[in-house]
């Protein structure tokens, strides 16, 4: 269970998230893809903070070990906030367009 294992997992999650975002013709599915991406990022941070030892020439590296974890916590919070707003906007879209298919929301173009 080296760092690489986690990184590979997170890379796959990231890529799957990207894939979802690109191909899913449903706004909520896109949101899910975004959540996958954010999860992969968080996983990265946590993994790095676990494995990568702070270099001795880094100033103020005292509590380094947990930096990544804390970043991940913030990441989760941000994801939640983003999801809330995203869903609110999806609802608004649904109200105005009667659909949440992203390719049907295309009055602005050109």
């Amino acid at each position: 269970m080296s760092l690489q294992h986690y990184l590979v997992i997170s890379s796959i999650l990231f890529t799957l998230g990207i894939f979802a975002v690109l191909t899913r013709k449903n706004a909520i599915s896109i949101l899910m893809g975004i959540e996958l991406i954010l999860n992969s990022c968080n996983l990265n941070f946590v993994a790095f903070s676990r494995f990568v030892k702070p270099s001795e020439n880094i100033v103020g590296a005292g509590a380094y070990v947990l930096d990544g974890q804390i970043i991940a916590i913030f990441g989760i919070v941000l994801a939640a906030a983003e999801a809330a707003v995203f869903l609110a906007i999806i609802l608004a879209i649904y109200r105005e367009f009667g659909s949440i298919r992203p390719d049907e929301v295309d009055t602005l173009k050109g």
């Binding site: 269970m1 080296s2 760092l3 690489q4 294992h5 986690y6 990184l7 590979v8 997992i9 890379s11 796959i12 999650l13 990231f14 890529t15 799957l16 998230g17 990207i18 894939f19 690109l22 191909t23 899913r24 013709k25 449903n26 909520i28 599915s29 949101l31 899910m32 893809g33 996958l36 999860n39 968080n42 996983l43 946590v46 993994a47 676990r50 494995f51 990568v52 103020g60 509590a63 070990v65 947990l66 974890q69 804390i70 991940a72 916590i73 913030f74 989760i76 919070v77 941000l78 939640a80 999801a83 809330a84 707003v85 869903l87 609110a88 609802l91 608004a92 649904y94 109200r95 298919r101």
Partner: protein
């Protein structure tokens, strides 16, 4: 040689995470996808546990599964009126998206494979301590105070914004 239980469990989690994530992006039914996402999120939480991030794992479960996922399900219901919804798939888009995703994955894997500083690192020497207290201290007393405060503003904004946008407009 010790029975690699830990390793097996790890791989199990990894498989579950990736498999369910795959399901999230492939299931044609949005509700199924949402449930698959739940599994993924649990999987990630499990991985956090492996990484000795207990507080984080708990947060993941509470916030994500308890919050975000429920929100998503609500979203599904409010936008379709029923609990199943077929996701339209377009072949060309699918292929192109797969292409780009695979390219990205290949690039990332190349990086991971060729990064000497990330190689041969183990977490063996690092003590397994509970992190909650430390995290609390760091957030409230150390350098993460500012982000913490800023995030509170952000949450407030998100709150107001979500309320603003989602509420039914009374047209005049």
């Amino acid at each position: 040689m010790e029975f690699p239980l830990k390793t097996l469990i790890f791989y199990g989690f990894a498989l579950v995470t990736i498999g369910s994530a795959l399901a999230v992006v492939t299931f044609r039914n949005i509700v199924h996808a949402a449930f698959a996402l739940m599994v993924t999120l649990f999987g990630v939480a499990g991985l956090y546990v492996f990484l000795q991030a207990d507080f984080l794992a708990a947060t993941q479960v509470i916030v994500y599964v308890g919050g975000i996922l429920v929100l998503i399900l609500f979203g599904v219901m409010m936008t379709s009126g029923r609990l199943e919804m077929r996701i339209h798939i377009e072949r060309g888009q699918l292929l192109l998206g797969a292409g780009i995703s695979i390219a990205l994955l290949a690039l990332l894997l190349t990086v991971i494979a060729n990064m000497p500083v990330w190689k041969n690192l183990t977490d063996d020497g690092i003590p397994h301590e509970p992190t909650t207290e430390q995290i609390g201290k760091m957030i409230l007393q150390d350098k993460f105070l500012l982000p913490f405060e800023v995030v509170s503003v952000l949450l407030l904004v998100a709150l107001i914004g979500a309320a603003l946008i989602s509420r039914k407009e009374v047209r005049d």
